[in-house]
Structure formats: structure tokens, C-alpha cells
Amino acid sequence: MPIIPLSWFLLVGAGLFSIGLYGALARRNAVAVLMGVELLLNAVNINLVAFNRYIVPAQVTGQIFAIFVLAIAAAEAAVGLALIIAIYRTRDTVNLDEIDLLKG
């Protein structure tokens, strides 16, 4: 039986999401922004698994969604880091405020 209240897990998820949002919005370096996005995805996964455990413990729906998020995160990290390396080669910087070629 679950002893720890559900809201404690949700609070951890909310805290990690807020930290990741700050990292994704505030950092200049593109790799640091990607790390913030990874924290966001992890926070969402905590919520999915916690709801699975506490509200529908006889099913595995939340865990399946967490695995989908995991696969999306892997694809996102691979494409994001490949883009960062390609941009570094052509522009010699990974600071997002200096990458403004499409800015009118």
C-alpha cells in the first residue's frame, strides 16, 4: 500500500518542471537549453508514473506513456545535439542570442 502521499511526488515533479523551465528560458548556451528540456521531460515522467501508481495501480498505462516520452526524449536529444554541432561548425558559436540569421 502506498504510504507517501501522492501530492509529495507531484510537488517534486512541479519543482523539477519549474527548474527546467528556468534553465530552458534563461541560458544562452544551446546545450544548456537542451539540458533544461531534459529536466522538463523527466518532471512530466514523474507525474505520469505517480498517477499510474496511485490512481490506476492495476494497469500500466502511465508507465507506457513514460516509455513513449523516453523514446521522444532520445530522438530530441540526438537531433538537437546534431543541430548544435552543425551550427558550431558553420558559425563557430553555440550561444543562442548570436544565432540570428533568420531574424529580420
Binding site: I4, F17, S18, A32, A71, V79, A82, V94
Partner: protein
């Protein structure tokens, strides 16, 4: 509600995870950020274990720490973007981002402490892995195929984008 040993473990794990998360966003040196990120991933794996999702805890360690963290370290090394020295670490919207983050956390905490969650007092299924495997090839077969195609396309695309020309 009595305070048990499990509560102490949870508070330690949660504190460790949030501390590592904060370390990721406030470290100037990107390599330190990556090390903190590995700590945060390990903390999340421990949270999965506390939620009795052992399979996901193992998957978290293998995929996040084993693959994604390594990939991030490689990207830091290849782009020489360590941010050591006097380079500015945050952009002009750092202040307002901090305010937005704190307000979002306050809003979420306020809401989720108000709601009466329909918690079921029941043990988890004894052997979840066969159930998950069956769900992947019956109920979720279309999303499963789509995600497989997405992952292949993304990885091939990543190679195409990053290769030397």
C-alpha cells in the same frame, strides 16, 4: 499520518533530485551542469523505484544516464562551449524567467494541494512487464509503430545533419 523510514528516504531522494536540478541551471561551467544532470537523472530513477516502477528505473538509468548524458558530454566537448571565464551565462530574459518559474511552481503547488485525488489503496500488479509488452502490441500498437519510425528517422536525420561535408 505517522512518519516512517520511507518518508525519510523519499525526502532525501527528492531533495537530492531538486538540488541536482538547480545545479544544472545555475552552473556556469557546462561540464559541471552535465554532471549535475546525471545526478538529477539518478534521483528520478530512485523516485521511480519508490513508485514501484522498477522497469522504468532501470530504463531511466540505461537510456538517460547511459545514452543521453553521454551524448550531451560529447556535444559539450565538440562545441568547446564550456562557458569558462567571463562569458555571460544567461540571456537578457533570465530575471523574468526566474519569476515565471517561481510563479509556475507556486500555482502548481497551490492547485495540486487543493485537489482531492481519487487515490486507490491497492498494491501494484505483481508482474508488470508482460502486461506492458502485451499493451504495446495490442492497445498501443499504432503509437508503438509511429514511435519506432520517429526514432529511426530522427537518428538517421541526426547523422545526416552532423556529418562532415
Amino acid at each position: 499520518m505517522e512518519f516512517t523510514f520511507l518518508h525519510v528516504i523519499f525526502l532525501a531522494v527528492a531533495g537530492f533530485t531538486l538540488l541536482c536540478g538547480l545545479g544544472v541551471v545555475v552552473s556556469r561551467n557546462l561540464f559541471h551542469s552535465a554532471i549535475w544532470l546525471i545526478g538529477a537523472f539518478a534521483g528520478v530513477a530512485a523516485i521511480y523505484w519508490l513508485l514501484e516502477a522498477e522497469y522504468l528505473a532501470i530504463a531511466q538509468i540505461m537510456i538517460y544516464i547511459g545514452a543521453i548524458a553521454t551524448l550531451i558530454v560529447f556535444a559539450i566537448m565538440l562545441s568547446r562551449g564550456m562557458m569558462i571565464g567571463r562569458a555571460k551565462m544567461n540571456n537578457f530574459q533570465a530575471g523574468i524567467s526566474a519569476v515565471v518559474g517561481i510563479l509556475l511552481f507556486a500555482l502548481l503547488a497551490f492547485i495540486l494541494l487543493q485537489v482531492e485525488w481519487p487515490v486507490v489503496q491497492q498494491a501494484v500488479v505483481a508482474d508488470p512487464i508482460p502486461m506492458m509488452g502485451q499493451a504495446f502490441v495490442t492497445t498501443y500498437v499504432i503509437p508503438f509503430q509511429v514511435i519506432a519510425v520517429l526514432l529511426s528517422v530522427a537518428l538517421v536525420g541526426a547523422i545526416m545533419i552532423a556529418r562532415e561535408r
